[in-house]
C-alpha cells in the first residue's frame, strides 16, 4: 500500500510476530485470516496466540476458518459478527498482562473498529500491528448525527441514521476508528455528484 496522503490516516504494515511478547492476540476478519497465516504459520509464537476470527457472512470463508484451525494456536474463537468479536476481545483484554501484542487484519473499517476498542481498553498503539486485506471499505462517522456507518465503499454515501448525503472527508480518527462524513449538499441542496469508489 502506498503511503497515504491523508496525514491522519493510519499506515498499515505487514504482520510479524514479536518474539519477546508473552501473549499474542490476533483479531482477523475475512481475508485477514490469510495475512495471519502468512505471518504465523510454523512459528513457535502460535503456542501463545489466541485468534479471534469473524468470517464475512456472504463469502465462502470456510477455507479461511480451515486455514486458521490448521495453525494449531493456543485458542481459536469464531465470532458470528464483528460486534460479538469485540465483546470477546474486551473479555480477553480485561485479563491481559504487560507484554501482550495485538495483530489486526481485515478491511480498513474492521481494523478501525478493533483498534479503537483496544485503545479504549488501555492497549498502547505501539502494541498493535495492523495489515490491510480485503475490500477498501471505510468506516464513517456522520458528524451531524454521530451515527457510525460500516463498510462504506464510495463517497458520497447516504447516512442511514439521519438521511443526509455525506462527503467522506480525508480525515480519520483512531479514537473513533472512523473517517468523518459531512453533508455534501449543504450549500446546494440536492446537488449530488455521482459516488466515487475508494481505491485501496
Amino acid at each position: 500500500m502506498k503511503p497515504s496522503t491523508i496525514k491522519s490516516r493510519p499506515l498499515y504494515g505487514t504482520l510479524a510476530p514479536v518474539p519477546q511478547a508473552t501473549q499474542h492476540i490476533a483479531i482477523v476478519e475475512g481475508e485477514g485470516a490469510l495475512a495471519l497465516a502468512d505471518a504465523f504459520a510454523g512459528h513457535e509464537a502460535l503456542r501463545r496466540t489466541i485468534i479471534l476470527f469473524s468470517p464475512i457472512a456472504h463469502r465462502a470463508d470456510h477455507d479461511q476458518t480451515a486455514v486458521l484451525t490448521s495453525l494449531s494456536c493456543e485458542a481459536l474463537h469464531l465470532a458470528s459478527n464483528v460486534q460479538e468479536l469485540l465483546g470477546t476481545l474486551v473479555t480477553i483484554l480485561s485479563t491481559a498482562t504487560m507484554g501482550t501484542r495485538l495483530y489486526v487484519s481485515g478491511s480498513e473499517d474492521f481494523i478501525g473498529r478493533v483498534t479503537s476498542e483496544a485503545l479504549r481498553q488501555g492497549i498502547e498503539m505501539d502494541a498493535i500491528q495492523t495489515e490491510h486485506r480485503g475490500a477498501p471499505t471505510r468506516r464513517v462517522q456522520c458528524v451531524h448525527c454521530k451515527g457510525f456507518i460500516d463498510g462504506v465503499s464510495a463517497s458520497p454515501a447516504l447516512c442511514p441514521h439521519c438521511g443526509l448525503h455525506l462527503l467522506v472527508r480525508d480525515h480519520y480518527s483512531r479514537r473513533l476508528g472512523a473517517f468523518m462524513g459531512v453533508s455534501i449538499d449543504a450549500e446546494s441542496p440536492g446537488d449530488l455528484p455521482p459516488p466515487e469508489a475508494f481505491g485501496a
Binding site: 458528524v143 443526509l164 480519520y172 480518527s173 479514537r175 473513533l176 468523518m180 449543504a186 450549500e187
Partner: protein
C-alpha cells in the same frame, strides 16, 4: 476599565455589531497585501491600550452575549465540551490561568479571592458568586474546564505533551471555524492538522510542533488565523454545517456589506505549571464588510489579499461561493493607493 455589554445574538436574527471602539480594536490579520501560510508565532506580550492584545485574556463588549450563545450550543450538543480522564490537573491549571487573568485585568467585573485552597470567584456580568476548593471537583457545578470556559470568551483546547508530540485531549469548542473537537479528540498535532492543504509540504507543522514542545511556563505565544463567515454566526461547526452551509449561497452584490464577515482567531498558547499541558486558546473576532471598510487601509488591503489568495487556501477556508462577489464589492473601496506597513489602521 468598565465595559458595557451588548444584548445581541449570533444566530436567528443576528443582531451582533461592533462599536467604533471595537472596530479599532479588531485584530486585523494582514500586515501586507498578500497572504500565505507562515509560522507566524510571536510572544504573547501586552499590545497597545484598548487592542485585542492589551491583556492576556481579552474580554470585550460581546462577552455576555457570547457566553449566552455558548450555553445554547452546549445545551444542544454537550459533546462540544470534552475531557479525557488524565486531563483533570490541566483543567485546574486552566481555571487558575483564566480566573487570575480576568480578575487582574478587569477588576470592575471579576474578583478572585484566595485563602489557601479556598477560592471565592465573583463574575458580576454573569451574576456568579462561587466559593470552591481548588483541586476538589465536587465543589464546582461542572468540571473546572467547563466551569471556567462557560465564563470566558474564546474556545479552549488542552494539549497533553508526551512522546514528543501534543495531544488534543480536552477542550471547550463552540465557536469553531469548521472543525470538530469530538472528532479530533485524542489526536496528535499532525493528525488534527491533517486536512490543512499546502502547509504540510511547507514543513510548517513540523517547525510549529518543535517550537511548541519547548514552550516555557510564563512565556505564552500567539498567532493570528482567519477565515470568512456568512452572518455573524459563532457556531460554524461541522456538526451544524447542514444548517449554516446554505448561508454561503445567500450572498449577493447588494448584501455583501452586511452578511460577509472576516473572522479572525487570536490564538494563544500557554504552558501550564502543574500538568505541563498546553492551553491553546482560540479567541474569535467577527467584523462585517461594512464595518471593515470604515478603515481605509484595511479595505484596500483585504481587497488585495482576497483577490490574490491561492485557490487551495480559498477552497479549504470554504470561500468559493462568495469570494468573487466580495472581491467585486471590496474593489469599490480600493483606490489603488499603497498601504502602510503593519497591521494597525491608519
Amino acid at each position: 476599565m468598565t465595559l458595557s455589554f451588548h444584548a445581541e445574538t449570533f444566530r436567528d436574527d443576528y443582531t451582533f455589531a461592533n462599536s467604533p471602539a471595537a472596530i479599532r480594536a479588531f485584530p486585523f490579520p494582514f500586515d501586507r497585501d498578500a497572504y500565505m501560510y507562515t509560522v507566524n508565532i510571536e510572544q504573547h506580550v501586552p499590545g497597545p491600550v484598548q487592542s485585542a492584545t492589551e491583556f492576556p485574556i481579552h474580554i470585550d463588549e460581546h462577552y455576555v452575549a457570547e457566553m449566552r450563545d455558548r450555553a445554547i450550543t452546549l445545551a444542544e450538543d454537550p459533546l462540544r465540551c470534552q475531557s479525557l480522564p488524565h486531563m483533570m490537573t490541566a483543567e485546574w491549571d486552566l481555571l487558575e490561568l483564566l480566573m487570575t487573568s480576568m480578575a487582574t485585568h478587569y477588576p470592575a467585573h471579576f474578583t478572585l479571592s484566595r485563602d489557601g485552597d479556598r477560592w471565592h470567584w465573583i463574575n458580576r456580568p454573569m451574576d456568579v458568586d462561587q466559593t470552591f476548593t481548588f483541586g476538589d471537583v465536587s465543589t464546582l457545578p461542572q468540571g473546572p474546564m467547563e466551569y471556567v470556559t462557560r465564563q470566558c470568551q474564546g474556545d479552549f483546547c488542552l494539549l497533553d505533551q508526551r512522546e514528543d508530540n501534543l495531544w488534543m485531549d480536552a477542550g471547550m469548542v463552540t465557536s469553531q471555524a469548521d472543525w470538530s473537537l469530538d472528532f479530533d479528540l485524542g489526536m496528535n498535532f499532525m493528525e488534527w492538522h491533517a486536512p490543512v492543504p499546502l502547509a504540510h509540504d511547507l514543513g510548517v507543522f513540523e517547525r510549529a510542533l518543535k517550537f511548541l514542545l519547548n514552550l516555557q511556563h510564563g512565556c505564552p505565544v500567539r498567532r493570528l488565523n482567519w477565515t470568512m463567515t456568512i452572518n455573524p454566526r459563532l457556531d460554524t461547526s461541522p456538526e451544524n454545517y447542514h444548517r449554516w452551509g446554505i448561508d454561503k449561497a445567500s450572498v449577493t452584490p447588494e448584501n455583501v456589506g452586511d452578511k460577509v464577515h472576516l473572522r479572525v482567531e487570536l490564538q494563544a498558547l500557554w504552558r501550564l505549571p502543574r500538568s505541563n499541558a498546553i492551553v491553546f486558546s482560540i479567541r474569535g473576532y467577527l467584523i462585517k464588510m461594512d464595518e471593515l471598510v470604515t478603515q481605509k487601509k484595511w479595505a484596500r488591503r483585504f481587497h488585495r489579499v482576497l483577490a490574490s489568495l491561492p485557490q487551495p487556501i480559498a477552497d479549504y477556508k470554504g470561500l468559493g461561493r462568495f469570494r468573487d462577489t466580495t472581491v467585486a464589492w471590496l474593489s469599490r473601496h480600493d483606490d489603488g493607493l499603497p498601504t502602510s506597513p503593519g497591521f494597525a489602521p491608519d
